[in-house]
């Protein structure tokens, strides 16, 4: 370790790792400080990456040149493409991962990253001079200087775990928390709050009667998360298992309510509504007599299972007694109980889109410290913070993704514009333009942008260029190729769609829901020749082309809508504007606008409490 860095990243979770990797790969000298070198990129909760909306984020991180996708591909033990029956914008890759391999692979990649040093310690304090961060001070009393600092503290700031009446200070099971740093930030003027999240018990697989559970297998067809990988090297995947609670289980759980920190007022902070504890589910949905649970394997070489859906902070005895009433878990033994954890977060409205804080220059926040949940959401913020810290040092313009460019753009814009009132998780419905934000085109959306910064490598661009070139050829072929009725009508009726009466273009045939590009191959010889010309990534290219053609109308409509908003994005609001002087704004709007300091009219219009009338006032003020 040196005494002077360009970027210090505090915390080596998913946000910290992506931040450190991106800044270092861009050429900054980076120091990653973590409490425990053996816990790098821990999957603290669910041993899975991706899922609906989250899978798209992992693809985006990868397209930008991050590591999350590569690590997932290396550590997955089950793959599923969720929502395959829906439109292509909804297809969402999800992988169960080997928790240990995941962590080790991350460490290995970071160790191979140039310009990146590690230091095992705890940051107690950041050093601020003239409203600008210039370094950190650690628990060991060491002062390390740096041009920028990225805080990715996760749940460790004043972390407090609850299991029934038992309370333990710490950031994760058997790991200490961090105190002092929050208080310092509070003193610097940051608004802080408390949030709550929880995790379920981990079970011993040897004690589970899997015969009684419903098996959930992975897909045969495994799609890599990383655009750099053409396939995933995974032996036959592992399965998850579905179990159900019952009225009997619920009754037992209810006996623990009196001692529950959730209900006796001990836990005051807000947990996520979409990921409630089992006890919350019993209260909120009292009429449901059973809830679904998933036993997810934690790794190839371990018997540990994660019980998804059974997050709880009830007393351990109650948890165990209830578990043993579940069919299949009659003799279950656990490795550890579920628990709830409360931690400090900082109102993300105090950040710019670059993730830099408005109060302290060159200080960046990323991940759960901003009130989000999820490895994917954390990694996304991390990579953007890392990029921007590097750009700031080099006096370059900040890197911000728009809402029509990436889920990452939606995520960060939501955070800095709306703030959070519960742990923030991504959903596809948060995106206005989700038909544009698909898992199949994150590379097309983002890789060139990142390559311009110097992050996404040329190898990536080479693959992308090949893919877009071949895809373009296919699309062009469909646009130009005419088909005669006698050529195709037999096939059309086989596929259950009406025959054509005159010669039409092939693109109008592929637009029909019943027609698949693949099934056209035996019918059209020239198409077969065209496909045989594709040497690598044929399935990926065919899929991308098919989506583009089949959903052309929807994609174009969404693009048109996005362009409308883009015009508002271009109406910049000068930094010096004093909202309190604009008496024509409602009081609430003045407050909110002053707090968020939106950079443009479109962002202003998204702030809750800013009405269309307020936006009109701004437009008039700006002379529109």
């Amino acid at each position: 370790m040196n005494k002077d860095y360009d970027v210090i990243v505090v915390g080596a979770g998913h946000a910290g790792c992506e931040a450190a990797a991106s800044a270092a790969n861009l050429g900054s000298r980076v120091l990653l400080i973590t409490m425990d070198m053996n816990k790098i990129a821990q999957m603290s909760c669910n041993p899975a990456m991706g899922g609906i909306a989250k899978g798209q984020i992992v693809r985006e991180i990868d397209a930008l040149g991050g590591y999350s996708g590569l690590v997932t591909d290396r550590s997955m033990l089950q793959f599923r493409m969720l929502n395959k029956s829906k439109g292509p914008a909804m297809w969402s890759p999800r992988a169960q991962c080997d928790r240990t391999i995941f962590s080790l692979n991350w460490r290995e990649r970071l160790e191979k990253t140039p310009n990146l040093d590690f230091w095992q310690d705890t940051v107690k304090e950041i050093i601020v001079e003239n409203d600008k961060v210039i370094g950190v001070k650690t628990k060991l009393g060491i002062i390390i200087k740096s041009k920028t600092v990225i805080l990715t503290n996760g749940t460790f700031l004043n972390g407090l775990m609850h299991i029934g009446k038992v309370q333990i200070k710490g950031g994760r099971a058997s790991e200490p928390g961090v105190s002092g740093l929050s208080q310092q930030l509070f003193g610097l003027g940051f608004t802080t709050g408390r949030m709550k999240t929880g995790t379920p018990p981990r079970l011993d697989g040897r004690s589970i009667d899997f015969e009684k559970l419903q098996e959930q297998k992975g897909d045969e067809d495994v799609v890599p998360f990383s655009y750099l990988n053409e396939s995933v090297d995974m032996k036959k995947g592992l399965s998850c298992y579905i179990a159900h609670t019952s009225q009997e289980v619920h009754d037992i759980l209810k006996t623990g309510f009196d001692d529950s920190p959730m209900f006796d007022g001990t836990i005051k902070s807000v947990g996520p509504r979409y990921c409630p504890s089992i006890e919350s589910k019993l209260i909120t949905f009292a009429d449901k007599t059973q809830h679904q649970l998933f036993a997810e394997p934690e790794g190839w070489d371990t018997v540990e299972y994660y019980l998804n859906g059974f997050s709880s902070s009830l007393a351990w005895e109650v948890q165990l007694e209830a578990l043993r009433k579940i069919v299949g878990f009659e003799k279950v033994i656990a490795f550890r109980p579920g628990y709830a954890i409360e931690y400090d977060y900082f109102d993300p409205m105090q950040l710019y889109h670059s993730m830099e804080t408005k109060l302290v220059k060159n200080l960046y926040f990323a991940g759960q410290i901003n009130g989000t949940t999820g490895y994917e959401e954390a990694g996304a913020q991390g990579i953007i913070a890392g990029i921007n810290a590097h750009l700031k040092i080099n006096e370059k313009e900040e890197f911000v993704l728009n809402r029509d460019q990436a889920y990452i753009g939606v995520l960060i814009d939501d955070l800095v514009t709306k703030g959070v009132d519960e742990p923030y998780r991504m959903f596809t419905s948060r995106a206005e333009y989700r038909i544009l934000l698909r898992q199949d085109n994150a590379d097309e959306r983002l890789s060139a942008l990142s390559n311009n910064l110097g992050l996404a490598g040329d190898d990536r661009m080479k693959i992308l260029d090949y893919k877009t070139g071949k895809k373009g050829k296919l699309v062009e072929y469909f646009a130009k190729r005419s088909v005669k009725p006698q050529e195709i009508n037999d096939s059309l009726s086989t596929w259950g769609t009406s025959p054509i009466k005159q010669t039409i273009k092939l693109k109008d045939i592929i637009a029909r829901p019943q027609v698949k590009l693949r099934s056209l191959v035996p019918v059209l010889e020239d198409l077969e020749i065209l496909l045989s010309d594709i040497e690598i990534r044929e399935s990926e290219i065919v899929e991308a082309a098919e989506i583009e053609m089949k959903y052309h109308g929807y994609i174009e409509r969404e693009k048109a809508m996005a362009e409308k908003i883009t015009r508002l994005e271009e109406l910049k609001i000068p930094e010096w504007i004093n909202y309190h002087e604009l008496k024509s704004l409602t009081y609430e709007a003045r407050e909110k606008l002053s707090k968020v300091k939106p950079s443009n009219i479109a962002q202003a219009s998204r702030i809750p409490g800013v009405s269309p009338a307020d936006v009109n006032v701004l437009l008039i003020k700006l002379g529109r």
Partner: protein
């Protein structure tokens, strides 16, 4: 923002006129041209709050009546700085231009932000002569105010958060409303009746979009997803609501601008006489010569607060006269624009001829139009016992007479003598009130709202089509979001947080 001034009362001469001054300099500018004591008393300025003995001015807040005559004060009165001018009180003052006293006025000062515009606003009630109004206006402008552009007071009220957009729009409607009904509409709008309706629509949409989004974002969850027929049911409800609102626009427009009534009939059956009788003035040129009315003439009357716009038309007859032919063509065109058509017939004319016209006109009546057949010249028909039975006997009570679109009623009257006019008015009134108001609680009057609703309708059609063809939810949702967007253009934005909140509230999420 600079200070604006305008005459707020109607143009022309009345007993009193009102001039409004609004802006941060309003007090200062008005202060330069007023003198709040008798020009001769020598007491002026801020001190004038204190009533000086001998001053004839009454205290603040009193129903001031000033000195009897404005012709006084030759001793060079100096304008007073008007501070402190007590707000929200009527103040008697003189308007002075240098040495010259222009008028005696009443001032009311509305202090910001508690004024219509949200700015300092002063209302000057002066005498109504055009000369005085103009002089005061010019005086204010010379002292730093600027002539307001049309609607600028309301615009400022809007900008200062005193009114929201649809309220501001309603204010302009309110000012322009010329009948009880249009006034009622504008008032409803201003009080937010329309917003209530839109909000109701939004909550239905929110249910719909939540159900659609549920199966997208939470496909992995253990929740029951809505089946397509359930979604279709909600879409139907929404569709009906939107249709009803868009339809009401035509009605709203009619009420705002007056119900167009076309009076048609053969030449010389007395259409113009009827119009004049209704208007109670000689509006159309009436003569014994058939075909006198070659141009359509429009005028309005109010019956029970509803505005009717009457269109007199050239007589219908076959003619060689080219001008007359154009007139007849125009009559038919005017008929198309009308909602109610009064066909006037002449009982003295050959019966077949009348019937022919009735047939010809009836053929042209659309579903949304109503026809009233009036047998005019009741006075020419023999004695009360035979021909002209009292209108009451032929015309049943208006209530029962009013039927759905396309129906007609028939009554006998004498336009010349004014017999049966009251009954005709009643019939007219009932055509509008019964048919319109009861169908719609809320009526869309604003073109901007109407445009948004038409766009909503288009999207609803696409959603319905998508449901029928089994389109995936992500595409359905594109259209539903568009609907929410257009509704947002009317009231305010919907955020995706609302959708998620709705989902979390209703479904058990979290596997």
């Amino acid at each position: 923002m600079n200070t604006i001034v305008a005459i707020a009362s109607a143009p022309g001469m009345g007993a009193i006129a009102l001039i409004r001054v609004s802006g941060e300099d309003a007090v200062r500018i008005v202060g330069r041209i007023v003198l709040r004591t008798s020009p001769g008393s020598g007491v002026r300025g801020p001190g004038s709050e204190e009533r000086s003995p001998g001053s004839r001015e009454k205290g603040p807040g009193s129903e001031v009546q000033g000195p009897e005559s404005g012709e006084r004060g030759p001793q060079s009165p100096v304008p007073s700085p008007l501070s402190p001018l007590p707000p929200w009180r009527v103040q008697f003052s003189y308007i002075v231009d240098g040495d010259r006293v222009l008028d005696e006025v009443l001032l009311t000062y509305f202090k910001a932000p508690r004024s219509y515009t949200g700015e300092d606003l002063i209302e000057i009630s002066c005498h109504g002569s055009e000369y005085i109004q103009q002089e005061i206006l010019h005086l204010l402008i010379r002292n730093g105010a600027r002539m307001a552009s049309p609607g600028e007071f309301t615009q400022r009220a809007f900008l200062n958060g005193k009114l929201d957009l649809s309220q501001a729009e309603a204010v302009s409607d309110l000012i322009a409303s010329s009948s009880k009904a249009s006034h009622q509409l504008a008032m409803d709008q201003m009080r937010g009746g329309f917003s209530g309706e839109i909000n109701d629509l939004r909550s239905r949409l929110l249910d719909l979009v939540s159900l659609v989004e549920l199966e997208l974002d939470f496909a992995e969850e253990d929740v029951e997803f809505a089946d397509r027929s359930q979604l279709s049911g909600i879409v139907e409800e929404i569709s009906e609501k939107v249709d009803s609102l868009t339809r009401s626009f035509h009605l709203g427009n009619v009420l705002k601008n007056g119900v167009p009534v076309a009076i048609v009939g053969e030449t010389n059956v007395g259409k113009s006489t009827l119009l004049n009788a209704l208007l109670k003035e000689d509006r159309a040129i009436v003569s014994e010569i058939p075909g006198t009315t070659r141009d359509t003439i429009e005028d309005t009357i109010q019956i029970e607060g509803i505005l009717f716009r009457f269109i007199d038309t050239a007589g219908l007859r076959h003619t060689e006269d080219s001008i007359e032919t154009i007139g007849i063509e125009r009559s038919y065109q005017q008929m198309e624009k009308a909602r109610v058509i009064i066909l006037v017939t002449d009982p003295t004319a050959p019966e077949e001829e009348s019937l022919e016209w009735v047939k010809a006109v009836t053929k042209r009546i659309r579903d949304d139009q109503s026809l009233i057949v009036v047998v005019n010249k009741g006075d020419l028909v023999e004695g009360p016992g035979s021909g002209v039975r009292g209108p009451q006997s032929r015309v049943q009570s208006p209530q029962s007479d009013v039927r759905g679109p396309g129906s007609d009623s028939r009554l006998i009257l004498s336009a010349k003598d004014g017999v049966g006019l009251v009954e005709l008015e009643e019939v007219l009134l009932n055509f509008v009130t019964l048919r319109s108001f009861e169908d719609h609680d809320v009526i869309v009057t604003n073109a901007r709202h109407y445009d948004a609703l038409v766009r909503v309708q288009e999207s609803v059609v696409r959603v319905r089509g998508g449901l029928e063809t089994g389109l995936s939810g992500d595409f359905l949702s594109q259209d539903i979001r568009e609907i929410l967007h257009f509704l947002g253009e009317i009231t305010g934005e919907i955020s995706t947080d609302e959708i998620l909140g709705n989902i979390f509230g209703k479904f058990c999420i979290g596997k």
